[in-house]
Amino acid sequence: MYRLTEEGQRYLERGLPERRLLEILESPLEIKEASVKLEDFNIAMQWAKKEGWVEAKEGMLHLIEKPGEFQVEEALKKVLKKDELDGDIAEVLLSRKLIEEIRDDIMQRAKKLVGTEITELPEELISTGLWREVKFKPYNVESPGKQIHPGKRQPYQRFISSMKRKLVELGFVEVTGPAIETEFWNFDALFQPQNHPARDWTSTYQLKHPKHGKLPDEKIVEQVSATHQDGWTTGSTGWKYRWDPEIAARLMPRAHGTCLSARTLASGPDIPGKYFGIARCYRPDFLDATHLIEFNQAEGIVIGEDLNLKNLLGILEIFAREIAGAEEVKFLPDYYPFTEPSVQLSAKHPELGWIEFGGSGIFREELTKPLGIDVPVLAWGIGIDRLAMFKLGINDIRYLFAKDLAWLRESKVV
């Protein structure tokens, strides 16, 4: 019993060298030219001359006759199909190293299976062609496959990744920042007075260790301080109290993503420019079906000369359509400490009805001017935790950070 060698396989795919030679000899050809044109030229010449199909004369090759069929090729096909081969031609193929004998042990193993009913299909039956002599046991092909667990993205992380792609497509540049912030960036730079109740222990975390960080660039600190005290040159009355740098240097896990926007404004951003960040935020809350001990916020800004409230509503409408898949939007006047005017966006979801989608506004000048920005800045925040719950069909917010491996394995990829 034989099988094809690599060379035999190749000739079967591309045609024998001698066949390919005859095919280019429709008219006489210079030997030199033929040798360039034809791969395996020497092998082709050897067999074509031997069979008397070609003749070389004065540097030219002439076709003498073309056989009806190439015996060697036919034989190769038989070997491939594991058909019987008669002795003479087998010798030729063996001498041309186009086939090789199948090892005896393989042959023996294959022969043992002849006449039996098999379940698995062993290699030796394939290589010897003896699969013709066995019976295949039919399977129950209608029962579902055995369960395996593919490697999958965590559903909420996957949602966040797709949200980021969406924002990048809308022309926003992603920014990141430290999880531990000074109160300066978390509050003071956002014009939150130092005695504001949002800054007390029940509303935000503070650090036991390390306790204090450094304040940024002196000029910015001075401008922020002056704005808190008397409004500086922002046209504001300010909060009218003594601003304390000691409080501003205290460290805390960031309580919102707006610190990213403040840092971006202070870092000399492109004008016009669009920036966003997705920040892990921390606020003292107990873990239950509707509260997390830490959460994610998507925050962004659009900076540009002459931006106005109409533009803010325009960008909110795009978000509602592109990100929440909303059909209809509604704007509600709202209050946020960092923006004036402030607008809340409500979006009508095809199945869920009206949902509160995000907060937004035009940053107060008491925030932008001390950070060195003299043009309007549209700011928005999207509650992505809730949006993800809708999208993933989760009712218990803890599942965004699911600790249940079985649930993660079963979760649908959406």
Binding site: H149, K152, A179, P197, I293, G304, N308, E317, L405, R409
Partner: protein, 552 residues
């Protein structure tokens, strides 16, 4: 943010209009930045968003604002103040304790249940938010006819006087009130550091109250029989107190009361309160048009302002506005421009997306993290997401390590979450520990942030992105995890070396440092059985943790 309950009937009476529920819900309530969150049996639950507008935290204030927007009465509300002829004397001793006070008298009131409820609710909301939980503003309302003026604001030794506080029937000293009375315990921290406590007392030694704790039963209970009231407020800032007093007397005024002033005699000056003189501000109409993107005339602007209860007129290219003295939220022209937008109705403004063309891009580390996640899932690992809040025991003790330096929360809500993780593997161990009965092998990874102490940084810390990956199975071992690491790093095109290095969390002789670009970027090995015992995990775990920026 303040949530208040009001009666729709009461609102209609005060508004002098029979506004429908639908109109109120869809349009009316937006004029006061409110949202109706519940409606049953005539009672509305309203969320008033603005934490700087105490004047809107009662039905009287909401009605006053809506009367403007619905054309019942526009412009600055007129609140007339007469003199009561009475005075309040402020003793020098209060200076170090609770230095400021203001007062007013309102006469000719008819209290009904709804009115009493609104006044109590308004006081509570002012105490909580505006009054910083009574530390900056505490309010006392008394039956005026029970008092003998002048009133004295002074201090008293903790055991220096006895009176019956509200909700109790026996006489108590201030010290006993701070120890035993529920309000005393709740607010003791504001005054218990002082040798003497604030005291409000009339000329015949009748105690009015121990501000900011509790009123006395004798004077401090307002009922349906009460006709005339005396109001005082104490705190630290005169300006702050005056605004709150104005809010309260405006509500009483709208209920038909006659507001009268009180002379408050401080040691060095006399202040007459309440002072309802309107405040003034001037805005540039051009700034308004530019900021809102609206083509409205100066006249339209002044009309809108009048609806929002301002007085406004065009003077020399500017708009001069007067606003009521119960508002203290106006710091900047923007605050007034927003009121113009609200009076205009923001849903009538045509949205117009900014015509700014920018090229977006992701943050480099974040983008690379997503590539790492893709390769890890391709290696058939399940991504997990865990909290970054954790505790020192999990970070160190349970990992078989000496306690090290880490970011610690000063006011944790629970000891389970009192620190921010400095490495990821403890979170992964915690995850495995929660899944002991889930089918093995368990192969999980997380790409997430950790925080390490670094005094050289602005925030004395550094937030770093890490990848941690673990396989747990009865026959999981070093080879399993090292082939995953190899598959990952070769896919990322990173040349790396492993250098044997012992680590307390791993079995001796079975852990190594991961070296890439000449730097140590992580650790890999078989988790120490002691660590497995500490977490209650009964299958071997092999794991690695690697610095994302180190292999980027």
């Amino acid at each position: 943010m303040p949530k208040i309950e009001i009666s729709l009937d009461d609102l209609r009476t005060l508004l002098r209009s029979s506004i429908s529920y639908d109109e109120l819900e869809e349009r009316g309530i937006l004029f006061v930045k409110g949202e109706i969150e519940g409606f049953s049996d005539d009672m509305l639950t309203v969320d008033i968003k603005d934490t700087n507008r105490p004047d809107l935290w009662s039905v009287e204030g909401i009605a006053r604002e809506l009367r403007g927007h619905y054309g019942v009465s526009e412009g600055l509300p007129k609140i007339k103040i007469e003199s009561s002829g009475i005075s309040m004397n402020v003793n020098k001793k209060v200076e170090k304790v609770r230095p400021k006070t203001v007062a007013a008298v309102v006469k000719g009131l008819t209290f009904d249940d709804e009115f009493i409820k609104q006044i109590i609710q308004l006081q509570e909301k002012i105490h909580m938010t505006y009054g910083r939980n009574r530390s900056e503003c505490a309010i006392g309302v008394y039956d005026f006819d029970q008092l003998v003026p002048p009133i004295n604001y002074t201090t008293v030794k903790p055991d220096g006087i006895k009176f019956v506080p509200l909700d109790f029937s026996e006489e108590m000293t201030p010290r006993e009130i701070l120890e035993k009375h529920p309000k005393g315990r709740e607010y003791a921290h504001i005054i218990d550091k002082f040798d003497e406590y604030p005291l409000m007392i009339d000329s015949e030694e009748n105690v009015l109250s121990i501000p900011p704790i509790i009123n006395s039963v004798y004077t401090g209970k307002v009922s349906q029989e009460t006709k005339n009231v005396f109001i005082e407020m104490t705190g630290n800032s005169l300006e702050r107190l005056q605004v709150a007093l104005n809010v309260l007397v405006a509500a009483f005024h709208d209920r038909g009361g006659t507001v009268q002033s009180v002379e408050v005699n401080y040691p060095r000056e006399t202040v007459v309160t309440p002072d309802m003189t309107p405040r003034e501000f001037s805005i540039d109409p051009e700034e308004c048009r530019t900021l809102l993107g609206l083509d409205i005339t100066d006249d339209e602007m002044t009309d809108l302002l009048k609806k929002a209860r301002y007085d406004a007129k065009s003077v020399g290219g500017k708009i001069k506005v007067k606003y009521p003295a119960y508002r203290n939220d106006i710091m900047h022209s923007r605050d007034i421009i927003e009121d113009i937008a609200i009076a205009y109705d923001i849903n009538k403004i045509e949205p117009d997306p900014p015509k700014i063309s920018t090229i977006g891009h992701a943050d480099k580390t974040e983008e690379f993290s997503d590539i790492v996640r893709e390769v890890m899932t391709g290696l058939s690992f399940q991504e997990v997401l865990t909290f970054s809040l954790i505790n020192k025991e999990s970070l160190f003790t349970k990992m078989n390590m000496e306690e090290g330096e880490v970011c610690e929360i000063a006011n944790p809500i629970s000891t389970t979450w009192n620190s921010i993780r400095s490495w990821l593997l403890p979170s992964i161990m915690d995850f495995l520990c929660a899944n002991l009965h889930v089918e093995y092998p368990q192969k999980v990874f997380e790409v997430g942030d950790v925080v390490v102490i670094d005094e050289s940084q602005e925030t004395a810390t550094k937030t770093k992105k890490k990848l941690a990956c673990a396989v747990s199975d009865p026959d999981a071992g070093y080879e399993d995890i090292s082939s995953i690491l190899d598959g990952l790093l070769r896919s990322l095109g990173i040349y790396y070396e492993l250098k044997a290095k012992d680590h307390e969390s791993f079995i001796e002789g079975r852990s190594a440092e991961i070296i890439a670009k000449g730097e140590s970027v992580g650790i890999i090995g078989e988790i120490h059985p002691q660590v497995l015992n500490n977490w209650g995990i009964e299958k071997p775990v092999a794991a690695f943790e690697i610095d994302i920026d180190g292999i980027k």
